[in-house]
């Protein structure tokens, strides 16, 4: 394990190996933390100690009642379906509810040009019109720029332009494919193109981002 931990500092470590080491190390740490936490709980709430003769049943009834009540509460919880039935309204609601923040410049781009910095600032200030104009003026837009440019257009209600930009992004690379499938579907819906939205929503797999929301949108489109 020591060797593995040291390997984390290796600049040539692969992402896969890095993930594997972090998973193992954090598991070890958190498992230890849980053991200590449960040891204390068993002692204080159940009267069970690791040392012999430490076990008593004093609080058993109290804990049993509390547990039963909690489980009953959970079982009794009912989820109320308050989502709108109109797919366009639902699409707009999803867009409004989702906080979209530009995470900043991509690592490695240190010679930030002014337009990119301003575009990001405007995007995160929710001034999407300004953000779009700065993205437009970028001389050599990256894939990330094009993606956020499309988002800025979508959030500025320029659905047609957003769709074009998303489509442009889609042909370049699949890095943002899950996001593109989702946001382009939303753009199609808000642009009153339910058939195109529907065909794109169907491409969202059950392990993809926003799969459940996509299914609900499909349901709403089909029932309209």
């Amino acid at each position: 394990m020591k060797e593995k931990l040291n390997k984390l500092s290796d600049p040539n470590i692969s992402k896969q190996e890095e993930d594997q080491i972090l998973e193992q190390v954090l598991k070890k740490q958190f498992d230890n933390d849980l053991r200590n936490k449960w040891k204390e709980k068993l002692d204080h709430e159940f009267g069970i100690k690791r040392n012999k003769n430490g076990f008593t049943n004093k609080k058993y009834l109290k804990i049993f009642i509390a547990t039963a009540a909690s489980i009953a509460l959970i079982i009794g919880l009912q989820l109320f379906n308050t989502t709108p039935s109109d797919p366009y309204v639902l699409a707009q609601q999803y867009l409004n509810d989702q906080e979209i923040i530009h995470p900043g410049a991509t690592k490695g781009i240190s010679d930030e040009n002014e337009n990119r910095v301003l575009a990001i600032q405007m995007f995160n200030s929710k001034d999407y019109e300004q953000a779009a104009s700065y993205f437009l003026n970028l001389e050599a837009p990256t894939e990330e720029d094009t993606y956020y440019y499309g988002l800025a257009l979508l959030l500025n209600n320029q659905y047609n332009k957003a769709i074009v930009k998303f489509e442009e992004n889609r042909t370049n690379s699949s890095k943002y494919i899950q996001e593109l499938n989702w946001y382009q579907s939303i753009a199609y819906l808000l642009n009153k193109q339910p058939n195109k939205a529907s065909s794109l929503l169907k491409q969202i797999n059950n392990t993809d981002w926003n799969y459940e929301q996509a299914q609900l949108l499909l349901e709403r489109i089909n029932s309209k």
């Binding site: 394990m1 993930d19 954090l26 598991k27 959970i74 899950q178």
Partner: protein, 187 residues
């Protein structure tokens, strides 16, 4: 069926798993800690185990159950049976220092879990961890310990996967920088 699953309905079983993925162990504790004494007694009775050995085996089973829940390896069915059987196996493993396979259902912890951990190194990593912000801690905990996919975290936090991917990169870099710095200082 509920009786076979510690009183859990299928819906509450799903909730328990979802909670564990977010490192919320409250519900898990409510259900399983009260199972502790029963399992402890069973191991002592059936295997004539000492109190300490039975305690350790049951604790190991709790930890392993959490792992299997988030790995999706435990299904709603007969959790009570599995828990007891796994505890028995843990007891034997701890005694024999070896793993056995029980009815093809329970394969015990693999080799990496048996590695001796350098507590000094782990301690320094823990200190580096403490320097992370709460959002980083939550993201890395959900992803690595809760086995949540980045897309699931993105959905939960109402952010795009791209944002979460980038946040993860930054958090790891920060963690590694801290860890590396402390390593250098020590050298």
């Amino acid at each position: 069926m509920k009786n076979k699953n510690f009183g859990l309905s299928e819906a509450s079983f799903e909730k328990l798993v979802a909670d564990l993925k977010r490192n919320d162990t409250h519900f898990f504790e409510q259900v399983f800690l009260k199972q502790f004494s029963e399992t402890l007694k069973y191991l002592r009775r059936e295997y004539r185990a000492s109190h300490e050995d039975a305690y350790d085996a049951t604790m190991d089973t709790l930890i392993e159950f959490r792992t299997r829940f988030i790995d999706g390896k435990l299904r709603y069915g007969n959790l009570r049976f599995l828990f007891t059987k796994m505890a028995s196996q843990m007891l034997l493993r701890n005694k024999q220092k070896g793993a056995t396979d029980l009815e093809g259902q329970i394969t015990l912890i693999d080799e990496e879990h048996k590695e001796v951990i350098d507590t000094d190194e782990l301690g320094r990593l823990k200190k580096a961890w403490q320097t992370l912000g709460e959002s980083c801690k939550q993201l890395l905990t959900w992803h690595y310990y809760g086995k949540m996919k980045l897309t699931e975290i993105a959905e939960e936090q109402q952010k795009s996967p791209a944002t979460i991917r980038k946040q993860k990169e930054r958090c790891i870099k920060q963690l590694k920088d801290q860890f590396g710095l402390k390593t250098m200082v020590k050298l």
